[in-house]
């Protein structure tokens, strides 16, 4: 691994991903699973769970960089909202490589917008 190394993960969430993720995670906030409720509170419709999208960012790191034990820390900022049935691209780039840790920057884009930004990970080497 060296500074400037890049990786990418693409994923298109299907129509019912938020229902499965609600069950799997225990987060049943209706803005993710109830179309009518989501519109009532001013959203375009049901939106993705931010932590589902963060899980895609985490997966991009563990798949590209050697497995789950390599990921020591991940921080992200959520912006805007993710939606179903539209491709998400996670992009990561190695910023620096130390003796036993590397720092990786990342973001997730959908429809030209950054829905996760300022992703920063520490990777165990």
């Amino acid at each position: 691994m060296k500074p400037g190394d890049e990786f990418e993960l693409t994923v298109t969430p299907d129509r019912f991903i938020t229902v499965r993720y609600a069950g799997a995670s225990g987060d049943f906030n209706p803005i993710h699973i109830d179309e009518e409720f989501a519109r009532q509170v001013g959203l375009p419709g049901r939106i993705l769970h931010g932590l589902w999208t963060m899980a895609q960012v985490a997966r991009a790191h563990t798949e590209a960089l050697g497995g789950p034990d390599k990921l020591e820390r991940l921080s992200v900022q959520f912006r805007g909202m993710g939606v179903m049935e539209s491709e998400i691209v996670v992009h990561g780039i190695v910023r620096e490589v130390g003796e036993d840790r590397a720092i990786v920057d990342s973001e997730a884009r959908q429809n030209g917008k950054r829905i996760i930004r300022n992703g920063e990970a520490e990777i165990r080497l």
Binding site: A58, R73, F78
Partner: protein, 146 residues
């Protein structure tokens, strides 16, 4: 918006979560994690683990219920309908596997304002049955003014 900072430093009772094999598989499938490490206990054992491995972000599952009492604490006073998740950080220790028992403690790290928004920061620390810290989290939530 006005916020009540009196709850800063408040800690909530520990929450115990028993990690089940099928729950790990269900979570892994929902986030697109297809490695046999997360789905096949024999493959996980062959790789040196006691049972299926929980993907790092499974931390959400065992910490979320520890945070609920803080989110709904009247002393904290979050208007849940106006809350959005601002940022999130996790730091991981040893991997969690099915069969682990995880104890999580949640604390109110900070309550402040940023422009019109209320900012509520929660910290969680999760330990396994060997008292190893498997995950610490910083959850930052923003609340729009009413």
């Amino acid at each position: 918006m006005a916020v009540n900072t009196a709850a800063i430093g408040k800690t909530y009772p520990p929450s115990l979560y028993a990690v089940g094999r099928e729950k790990v598989k269900e979570y892994a499938a929902a986030v697109g994690e297809h490695s046999p490490l997360y789905h096949d206990h024999l493959a996980a054992r062959a790789a040196g683990f006691d049972d299926v491995v929980a993907p790092p972000m499974f931390a959400v599952v065992f910490t979320a219920r520890a945070i609920m009492p803080a989110l709904f604490d009247p002393e904290v006073g979050i208007d849940f309908a106006r809350m959005v998740h601002g940022s999130q950080e996790f730091r991981w220790g040893p991997l969690v596997v099915a069969g682990d028992e995880i104890t999580t403690v949640a604390t109110i790290d900070d309550i402040s304002t940023r422009g019109e928004m209320g900012v509520y920061v929660f910290a969680t620390e999760s330990r396994n049955q060997r008292d190893e810290v498997v995950c610490s989290g910083v959850w930052s939530n923003l609340v729009r003014p009413g």
